[in-house]
Symmetry: C2
Subunit: 221 residues, 2 copies
């Protein structure tokens, strides 16, 4: 990767990538996600624009150019490959993955990237169920819906879990509410009440708010 692309630039591009889902990312959104002042975000956005990595019109938010997106996707690939590696090879707990990966993602070589990808069998999803971009920057994902919206009696496979809240990640790990796990929605209490899950004869009772943070796909039996 171009050496003039610093650690900070990579993190900004990744942040903009994630906050430009619908329309351009706002300066304040970027600033909050990066944990810096709005003035700092403005300064960096202006530099990124000069470098041709983003398009920016004053007061109107920021959007990645193809060049900027390419770098962002490479960083996301590093991040998610590293999370997968830390978990599967080194046995990291779920709540320690993000911080370590967010640091290392800027410092591994292409060789490192390729070696761990190969060792893991070129995985397509990270431990939270997020899709891992290919080396060429393609990213594909499955449509999933919140477990909270499943109906009684439905069999589902967990596809993705929210990764923002460390407390919640520890809970997911304890309860084995993890990607690839299959559960049956045994009962749902009304008014956003608790949801009872069954795995074989083991039952788990989870809150509605938690169930909104678990994304699932329907499966048969």
């Amino acid at each position: 990767m171009d050496p003039s692309v610093t650690h900070a630039i990579e993190d900004y591009l990744k942040t903009i990538y994630k906050s430009q889902r619908n329309g351009p990312a706002s300066t304040s959104e970027v600033a909050r996600a990066m944990g810096v002042s709005a003035a700092s975000a403005t300064a960096m956005i202006k530099r990124l624009a000069v470098m041709g990595l983003v398009d920016h019109t004053s007061y109107q938010g920021v959007r990645l150019t193809p060049g900027g997106e390419k770098i962002a996707l490479q960083v996301v690939r590093h991040h998610r490959l590293l999370e997968t590696y830390l978990r599967q090879v080194l046995g990291y707990p779920l709540d320690r993955l993000h911080d370590e990966a967010c640091e290392l993602e800027h410092h591994i070589s292409e060789m490192f990237e390729d070696k761990i990808s190969a060792l893991l069998g070129d995985p397509t999803h990270d431990p939270h169920g997020h899709p891992i971009p290919t080396r060429s920057g393609r990213i594909v994902d499955v449509a999933a819906f919140p477990l909270a919206e499943a109906v009684e009696g439905q069999d589902v496979e967990i596809h993705r879990i929210a990764d923002e809240d460390l407390e919640l990640l520890r809970y997911f790990e304890e309860q084995r509410l993890l990607p690839h796990e299959r559960v049956r929605v045994y009962s749902k209490a009304p008014m956003r009440g608790p949801i009872e899950l069954r795995r074989g004869r083991k039952r788990t009772l989870i809150g509605y708010d938690v169930a909104e943070k678990v994304f699932v796909v329907s499966v048969n039996a």
Copy 2:
């Protein structure tokens, strides 16, 4: 590690550690090893002195304090553990170990350090045969002598190889002149001439200059 200890500071401390073998390290030595100007080295040395990590008297060189040495040894531990890991787990070629480790050494957590050390069985030496400091900073090594000084008929085990020259590292790898390998010094030509090695019935002819870069210990049969 103290967050005020930056990447650059760690590399300077490591560099000073390695160049203060006999007496204090000179500014120019440090500058050359770091690949910076003498002025830059002076500036950093002054900062390190203020931080209490080195002792420095103007024009008289620099020496690590106990605090500085502690950090240097942690960085060396990271470096050598990483080299061992990259080689044994990811199958890196010898000549790619240093650069990757020198970058990653500043960015791994204590958990990462502990996990890879455990996975490797708490190794005591890296792939070049350099001793790996313990977490508490103890470092022990065996006395070894240059293969060039071995006598005809002597059986030796390679303990350490020079790691500065990438060309030479590739040669060591091709010829399997690596730590733990055993060879017999079959013949030595006079006047720093070629040295013939035997392993079983396989023979290898190496130059005297190369043999000065391979450090060995004597073994029986």
